[in-house]
Symmetry: C2
Subunit: 210 residues, 2 copies
């Protein structure tokens, strides 16, 4: 059975936990506040185990369902425990004060920064181009199915995540090497600016049509 | 009446000429080969005037419907004639040998390079996120309508192009300042890699859902 630990129990973490539980995975949901995390886990599925950030990770897949500024602290907290794990970065590393630029190198990405920080982990970029509501419903405002784009350099890691998502009822697609995280983060950034400017809603966004 | 000159009579130039003619604009279509350009103009609309690259531009809007490597030569050819014009860059500046990187600065874009080259022009980025087939049909593989994303620093230039596209039957949306061309080009790049890898078809791609 696939096992997954999700750190962060906000809308994104809860939606990902729900998909993983639906897909039959063993799911651990961790966040700062034990009570809120337990409530989110109950929403995600009866089998979802909750805990607090810092608990030993039970998942072979670890999702950082966190805003980018919180990632470094969690990586430090789990130093030495992430080697060999499939480590999934979902962040959109915007400068949220201006909504006008990213805080990572222009020729790189948050995912690549994380891969440099934790060289023993099998880092994937995923989920940053899908708003939480589109993960929760499986559709982009009812017009097209939601597709999770997954980039990474470890083929079997990508396969494992994509298989779990598809088992959980959400389309998922290999978007290429980890360096494509630059483009995925640009897409996520653009989508956020359009939603923040009310050009699109938070239940919409870019739907991938085959 | 809006007037538009389109340089390049390939699939993109012909699709844009068709939309502009449908929208009631005075359309000039220019390319290297007079005979092929006349044939493309006839497809685009009975009122579309054809000519060869180098002819005096009659449009207040000038669309560079060219692959990025051809842009510099055309800008040199029209040096001094582009000041005050609304100059529309549609390019996806990929390294087409590798399909793995862009040939413009990572913190910039082809559109910004063009704006630096022709500082008197009112440069817009548009059309690079919509495959030609989706412009020609107005839909992304029948699933969602096609939306042209337009970025630029000149509000009235953006308004003019967006109004013409909507008059021509295609949705169009203000995607922000010219610096957002970085993100639009990243999106176009990603979409091209997905199509080149057969993950999506050339009639599909990213559809913007509100």
């Amino acid at each position: 059975m696939t096992s997954i630990s999700i750190i962060g129990a906000g809308n994104m973490g809860t939606a990902i936990a729900t998909i993983a539980a639906t897909g039959g995975a063993s799911v651990q949901l961790l966040a700062q506040d034990a009570e809120k995390t337990a409530a989110a886990a109950a929403v995600a599925g009866a089998s979802v185990v909750s805990g607090v950030a810092g608990d030993t990770l039970t998942g072979e897949i670890v999702v950082l369902a966190l805003p980018y500024p919180a990632v470094a602290g969690v990586l430090a907290q789990y130093a030495g425990q992430l080697d060999g794990k499939i480590l999934v970065d979902i962040s959109n590393p915007l400068d949220f004060a201006t909504f006008d630029s990213l805080v990572v190198p222009a020729d790189g990405s948050a995912a690549q920064v994380i891969a440099q920080t934790v060289p023993g982990a099998r880092v994937l970029k995923a989920f940053n181009t899908t708003f939480a509501a589109t993960l929760a419903t499986g559709g982009v405002n009812g017009v097209a199915p939601t597709t999770v784009l997954v980039a990474g350099d470890d083929a079997s890691a990508k396969e494992a995540l994509i298989a779990l998502l598809i088992a959980g009822g959400v389309l998922a697609l290999d978007a290429g090497a980890l360096k494509r995280a630059r483009e995925l983060e640009a897409l996520g950034f653009l989508q956020l600016t359009l939603a923040a400017g009310s050009s699109i809603g938070w239940t919409g966004g870019f739907a991938l049509v085959k």
